[in-house]
């Protein structure tokens, strides 16, 4: 009721009538105008909106809260933004008065909330703003099973003795689930006064309650609970027994925290003694941690004792905890300990001493570098560097001399951790004196440390006898070389024969060239070498250039693609195809269109596709670029990479493009695998992947696959996409689950009593099982028996089904229990299938014959919204939005809901791929008014006042403007003209619907040309597959193309905003900008449809709905003019 009052209060002044408004309506209108500005764009704006609400007083807050509705009952996002905004606003520092005021108002609204979810929302806000004074009002919700949880959460955040008292007081009376919440929450409060209330529950026979009680007692940590917690019940479930030590330790920890150290320690030691076995040593570790936290330095003996453990987990814990007892004295005790334990433990202690960072351990760690045990030595190396830094370098030199396989990398890491000026002088003398593996490590260190002064040594080693040393040296050269080294490196590359060597040298050359800091001259040194070089050298350099990149190198490579030497040419083409920068794309396209070599064509195409894919261009631009390659002449098979490239552009257009190649034998496989890649996942913003175009294309892909495993994968992808699009399977491929036998017609059924119905249904199900069955995954009918019905009723829906008949076969689909969408043998019935056979007033035959020959599968897509039905047969629209007449009761319209039936009509039938998507019926949301932002309604929701033109074909119905094309054709225009404006509206389409929004239009002529038409079109429909982008929904028709794929599924409401400001037009559909263009730029040099659009020059005109013979609905049409 309130909502209605609001809408009138707003709508009346806007339509120019003065109406006396009551104070109540005034407040509601004021609140509406504020709420409508939520969500605020900035925190400051939010704060000012919230301040406005608070200024209006308590009633205003209540009014805001009253706009919060249960989930599914409408769009209350703005109200929730407002309530939460208030909660945030009033808790800013220094606003205690406002906070208390809002908390009180919130609690009052909570008291009025009849829905649990609305109450939960208010409670979650009390959780944010409540303080002590909110405790009492929250008490009454603690006994409620649904509300106790959020209420207790609010009390927990409020905290304090009052909150605890409230929780305690509620325990006895609360029902079981609420009591569980209360006990758990009392545990979280950690307040002692709750203990006596919880203790008896620790012996409860209810597992959940008992476990909550035990946790609460442990977490509070009162000695009263000691006996209960120390004896885990043998009869308890395993999980409870397994958790007993952790709970007991929690209890012990709380005791220590509250100063009862002795009691806590006693409990911890009990666990430490009893849980030592490897699989439960985490409890011993936790106990040890508690001992350390209680005793501090006095826990050292416990830690040292733990280091004796053979369990590495437990020992590891002890060594981690060792850091809690700092000081050199403790360090020396650990050193002493290390001498007494097994090598593994000793290594662990050495590592710990390193982490500890106490130099007192350095002598011991240094000594450990020479240990006879490898694990100890390995631990000692990083530890020594940490403790002694560069001072231990001489020790490491010694270690290097005798280093084993495992020590070399550890030593290398340690040396890299020192500065170059210390390390390089240390290792250079060792280079010639070390065994090859050590030498390899050392030369790599030279490289990584940038020791350019030593490059001659590195060159020498790069030509040495040992392969590992050579490889390491080449890697080092990559770090050290600069432009000046290029001639030498290129000469080495020319001579190199081993693959590894070639790879490393190329990398070294590229690194050297890239090291030039000036992007202008980068690569010049290589290009100098390229000039007048012998062919072998040219090839070698060309192969490196793509790793350098740059403008001049690119030009050099392009020039060499015209070399008369075939080897040089091939190397240049290869280089171009691997070019790192997008600047090469045009060259590659040119190469592809001029070359006569098929190999070069393929390389060029691959390179081009790669560069296009990597560019930052929007999807549509990438597709344009890829289309250019598709247009080139040449072997079809060479275009496979292009199809793969298209599949990586996630645009609806890609689906469409790829689908075209499913009929091309040489590209079918590439198209199919591209389509499957594209469809193998779907992001939320890609509804087009679960639309019917995708469905139809993917089914074709599936059918084209020979491999059964690939077909199964394709089938699964189709299923996933359908599911994401809201389709549910009607048939599981295994059973008749979800189906029933037919019991009479809807009229007769309505008269049957429940017991009669049940009996009849049982009998019908029996008959069903005799004649309908699942054979090879197909729903199969043996030709005798009765029709098959869905177990439940459907209202508005989209239905997909494949069917097959034999010669002379006959069947049909009953919608809402009523005949029928016809299926029959097209040879005997030349009209074909799909018609609404039983219609007497409206058309009963399909508009064309789209059947496949008898014995092949046919696919129906049937959309039923309200009383109208649209049928696609094999992707051809054969019935267009026709009223299905009521066969059973001719004087009535079709029933609002009913079963879907597969008609038995003699002769066997086969069905498969049955899916249904239910279309939610229109649920009116709160009225859209943007008074504060200057929007005014263009349509008052009741009649067509302010509109002119075809007022017969357009009607005001239930707050919507509905197009009835069967009544009259023509356009509906505003009586007024508008120049610059923002127009907002919502619209709902029927399958393949076509309409348009005329703007700046005169009242005569074709508005698409004499004014402008912003296209309105269900452009996902299969009948529009070959549309041009300038015809997509949202396009400025014929002038500015739009992006497709943003419309919601047919039958759902879409939102649109059209902004025309001077020469600029933007169109936003469902929050996505699909058009953002300057009319001058778009029409410079002629429009894309090559038509004359004089209307583009107009500066103002009427706004109109341009009818194109389809049913479409509009609502919430509103406008803001710019003056």
């Amino acid at each position: 009721m309130k909502v209605l009052a609001v809408s009138l209060a707003i709508a009346l002044p806007a339509s120019g009538l003065a109406a006396p408004a009551s104070p109540r309506a005034d407040l509601a209108a004021n609140v509406s105008s504020i709420i409508d500005r939520f969500p605020a764009d900035t925190p400051a704006h939010r704060d000012s909106l919230c301040a406005e609400i608070l200024k209006l007083g308590e009633e205003a807050v209540a009014e805001v809260c009253a706009r919060v509705v249960p989930p599914g009952k409408g769009d209350d996002a703005k109200a929730r933004f407002a309530v939460n905004g208030l909660a945030v606003y009033v808790t800013r520092p220094g606003a205690e008065g406002e906070r208390a005021f809002f908390a009180r108002a919130l609690l009052e609204s909570l008291g009025r909330a009849s829905d649990d979810q609305v109450a939960a929302f208010f409670l979650s806000q009390v959780q944010l703003v409540g303080r002590r004074e909110s405790v009492r009002p929250l008490e009454k919700y603690l006994g409620d099973e649904k509300r106790a949880g959020p209420a207790a959460a609010a009390l927990l955040e409020i905290g304090g003795p009052e909150a605890t008292a409230a929780l305690v007081a509620a325990v006895d009376k609360a029902p079981r689930d609420a009591r569980l919440v209360l006990v758990q929450s009392l545990g979280e409060t950690r307040r002692r006064e709750a203990v006596r209330k919880i203790l008896p529950l620790a012996d409860s026979a209810d597992d959940g309650l008992r476990q909550a009680a035990l946790f609460a007692l442990a977490n509070i940590g009162d000695p009263l609970a000691g006996p209960v917690l120390s004896r885990p019940r043998l009869a308890a479930p395993y999980r409870e027994r397994a958790q007993a030590p952790a709970l007991y330790l929690l209890y012990a920890r709380r005791l220590v925290e509250s100063g009862r150290t002795a009691e806590g320690l006693e409990a911890a030691r009990a666990v430490l003694e009893n849980y030592r076995r490897p699989e439960e040593s985490q409890h011993a570790s936790a106990a040890l941690a508690l001992v350390v936290s209680a005793l501090g330095a006095r826990a050292l003996p416990d830690l040292l004792a733990a280091a004796d453990s053979s369990d590495r987990d437990f020992r590891g814990s002890a060594l981690m905890l060792a850091s809690k007892v700092p000081g050199s004295e403790a360090t020396l005790r650990w050193v002493e300990k290390a001498g007494t334990v097994a090598p593994d433990a000793r290594a662990d202690i050495v590592a710990m001493l390193g982490r500890r960072g106490d130099a007192a351990a350095l002598p011991f760690v240094r000594e450990s570098l020479r240990s006879g045990q490898e694990p100890v030595r390995l631990a000692a190396i990083p530890a020594a560097v940490r403790l002694g830094a560069e001072a231990v370098l001489p020790d490491l030199r010694q270690s290097l001399a005798s280093a084993g396989e495992k020590e070399i990398p550890v030593l290398k890491t340690a040396l890299l951790g020192c500065p170059a000026d210390r390390v390089v002088p240390l290792i250079v003398p060792l280079l010639d004196a070390s065994p090859p593996p050590v030498e390899a490590a050392l030369v790599e260190i030279l490289g990584e440390k940038g020791a350019r002064a030593e490059i001659e040594r590195v060159y020498r080693l790069a030509e040495g006898p040992d392969a590992a040393v050579r490889e390491a040296s080449l890697r080092a050269l990559g770090h050290l070389a600069v432009d000046a080294d290029l001639p030498r490196l290129v000469a080495m590359l020319e001579k190199a024969t081993e693959t590894d060597q070639v790879v490393r040298l190329r990398e070294a050359i590229a690194s050297a060239a890239r090291r030039n800091p000036d992007p202008e001259t980068r690569g010049d040194a290589l290009l100098d070498l390229l000039k007048d070089a012998a062919p072998a050298r040219k090839v070698a350099i060309l192969q490196v250039l793509p790793r350098v990149g740059g403008e001049r190198p690119l030009r050099a490579v392009v020039a060499e693609t015209r070399s008369p030497d075939p080897d040089i040419q091939a190397a240049a083409v290869g280089a171009l195809s691997r070019w790192p920068e997008g600047t090469a794309a045009e060259e590659l396209l040119r190469l592809a269109s001029t070359t006569r070599s098929r190999d070069h064509f393929r390389s060029a195409v691959q390179g081009y596709v790669r560069l296009v894919g990597r560019s930052d261009a929007p999807g549509a631009k990438k597709l344009d670029a890829l289309r250019r390659v598709l247009a080139l002449p040449g072997e079809a098979a060479d275009r496979k990479p292009v199809l793969a490239g298209i599949a990586r552009v996630r645009e609806p257009e890609s689906l469409h493009l790829l689908a075209r190649y499913l009929d091309d034998p040489s590209l079918r496989d590439a198209a199919a695998s591209g389509l499957l890649d594209l469809a193998s996942r779907q992001d939320p913003e890609e509804p087009w992947l679960s639309g019917h175009e995708a469905y139809s294309v993917l089914r074709r892909v599936e059918a084209s696959l020979a491999d059964p495993a690939a077909r199964t994968r394709a089938g699964k992808i189709v299923l996933d996409r359908l599911k994401q699009g809201g389709f549910l399977p009607l048939f599981d491929g295994r059973s008749l689950e979800g189906w029933r036998g037919l019991v009479a017609d809807p009229k007769a059924r309505a008269k049957m009593s429940a017991p009669d119905m049940a009996r009849a249904q049982a009998a019908a199900d029996e008959t069903m099982r005799a004649h309908w069955s699942v054979v090879d995954g197909l729903l199969t009918f043996d030709g005798r028996g009765e029709s098959l019905c869905t177990a439940r009723d459907y209202g508005d829906f989209e239905l997909l089904v494949d069917w097959k008949i034999e010669k002379g076969g006959d069947s049909g689909l009953y919608l809402r229990g009523s005949p029928q969408v016809q299926i029959w043998d097209p040879d005997a019935n030349p009209e074909g299938s799909g018609g609404l056979y039983n219609n007497e007033v409206g058309p009963r035959h399909p508009s064309e014959k789209a059947d496949r020959p008898v014995g092949e599968w046919n696919t129906f897509r049937i959309v039923m919204i309200g009383e109208r039905v649209t049928v696609y047969l094999n992707d051809r629209r054969v019935v267009d939005n026709v009223v299905l007449e009521n066969y059973w009761e001719r004087d009535k319209p079709i029933y609002p809901t009913g079963q879907i039936e597969l008609q038995a009509h003699g002769g066997p039938l086969w069905f498969r791929n049955l899916f249904v998507r239910e279309i939610p019926r229109d649920v009116p949301g709160p009225p859209k008014v943007e008074v504060g932002d200057g929007f005014v309604p263009l349509f008052d929701g009741r009649d067509l006042e302010g509109w002119t033109g075809n007022t017969t074909g357009y009607a005001a119905e239930g707050g919507r403007i509905v197009v009835h094309p069967e009544r009259a054709g023509g356009n509906l225009y505003t009586t007024r003209e508008f120049a610059d404006f923002v127009l907002r509206f919502e619209f709902r389409l029927t399958p393949a619907a076509n309409n348009g929004i005329g703007i700046r239009a005169p009242l005569d002529g074709d508005a698409a040309y004499t004014g402008m038409e912003i296209q309105v079109l269900e452009d996902g429909s299969p009948v529009y597959w070959d549309l041009q982008p300038y015809q997509y929904h949202g396009s400025v028709y014929g002038v500015v193309p739009a992006r497709r794929g943003v419309l919601r599924p047919v039958g759902e409401w879409n939102e649109e905003e059209i902004t025309a400001m001077g020469r600029h037009v933007t169109v936003v559909v469902n929050g996505e900008t699909v058009v953002d263009a300057s009319l001058d730029e778009a029409s410079a040099g002629g429009t894309i449809d090559h038509r004359d659009h004089p209307g583009l020059q107009r500066t103002s005109g009427h706004i109109g709905f341009l009818g194109h013979g389809s049913t479409v609905e509009f609502r919430n049409v509103r406008i803001k003019e710019s003056r």
């Binding site: 939520f38 969500p39 605020a40 764009d41 900035t42 925190p43 939010r46 989930p71 209350d76 996002a77 933004f81 939460n84 909660a87 945030v88 979810q117 939960a120 979650s124 806000q125 959780q127 949880g149 959020p150 207790a152 955040e157 689930d177 569980l180 919440v181 758990q184 929450s185 959940g208 476990q211 946790f215 442990a218 395993y238 999980r239 952790a246 490897p278 439960e280 985490q282 570790s285 936790a286 941690a289 590495r312 987990d313 437990f314 814990s317 981690m320 590592a351 890299l416 951790g417 170059a420 990584e448 350019r452 770090h479 992001d683 549910l728 979800g738 439940r792 009723d793 939610p920 019926r921």
Partner: protein, 430 residues
Amino acid sequence: MKERPTSHSPRISRRQFARGAAAAAGSLMILPRRVLGGPGTTPPSDTLTKAVVGVGGMGRSHLAYGGSVLRAVCDVDRGHLASALEACGPGVTGYHDFREVLERPDIDVVHIATPPHWHALVTVAAAEAGKDVWCEKPMTRTIGEGRAVVAAIERTGRVLRVNTWFRFEERFYGLGTDVKPVKKAVAGGLLGWPIKATVSASTGFDWKFFWTGRTSLPPEPVPPELDYDFWLGPAPFKPYHPHRVHGTFRGYWDYDGGGLGDMGMHYLDPVQYVLGKDDTSPVEVWADGPQQHPDACGTWRRIEMRYADGCTIVLDGEDRDKDAPFLEGPEGKIFRGFRSDIPHFEEKVASLPDPEPQVTDFAESVRTRRRFALNERNGHRSCTLVNLGKVAVQLGRPLRFDPVEQRFVGDEEANRLVDQPMRAPWRLSA
């Protein structure tokens, strides 16, 4: 009221479901040795064994992570569970309830790839059951849960790895360079101090702003394969809608925190590492953006955080400054691709000492009981950056933070977002 018919998706209560699942798994369940009795346990073999909890999106990648043998998978969606079991072949048991997985003594490591609202609960339970943990990012959904995880891991002496790797992996994210030389340059003082780090598309980190939630979701029937009540677990009960779960859960505060919540650790952890802030947190945080819905995460424009020593991190969601360096100090800048305005930058960096070596092999970390490169401590600190950002975005007012107490200073409501009560019977012992 229009009730949507549900005969196609009979709702199974959690209790019924659990009973059914337990009965089905009963014959296969391996009881802990303590229950069976008998001689001592077998010594740990060299091969680690793992279980993956949550095998929907990210969880599928965890099945294949190396270094251990998969023994068990767990999911509250029967569809996910079945397809994971199909993918991983024989020798792997499926579970509905992660607590049954934790009862298996033959599992060493538990991988957690559930939505973030479960991370802390499963991690703490795993630690208390003696398991080591490999947890998806973000480590935890709130700062309070992060503290509980740190405490539980350290108390029980377990090893934890958070699944982001850009502090040690080569070519981290979009920066286009190894992290090691960046760390060397900063630690070696080439940029001077303090440093401002900018995380934006131009510096290589594009915030995933399309991961937002939807408002006013109408309730829908719960699909029969999903145990929705278990999926929600500690989160407040809200009626089912497919957008809340599976993949799109990222858009809701109850389970995650949008692009910032879900991707933030990837972007911010290397920054924290490079700045050497692994043991502290910022003292100020400030956010600019549109108002946030209490349920659905939205976008933001800019978040700034400042450490006590003046280092700042800027999260630039709009990519306003296309020329911004990734790191900027008084003496020099580092841009995307390791470009710098410092002369002879590369040579200078090369000659500096390498950073402290990190343990980057998780299996090694488990065997040697040494902290993994990204562990509970530094992982909690970098997840705190994410969670600080989330709170600042939700409240839209400047906040001060105490990095020692890990509480906001002088803002009680902000602290209520640090610790958020869980829905019974789920609880976390801090």
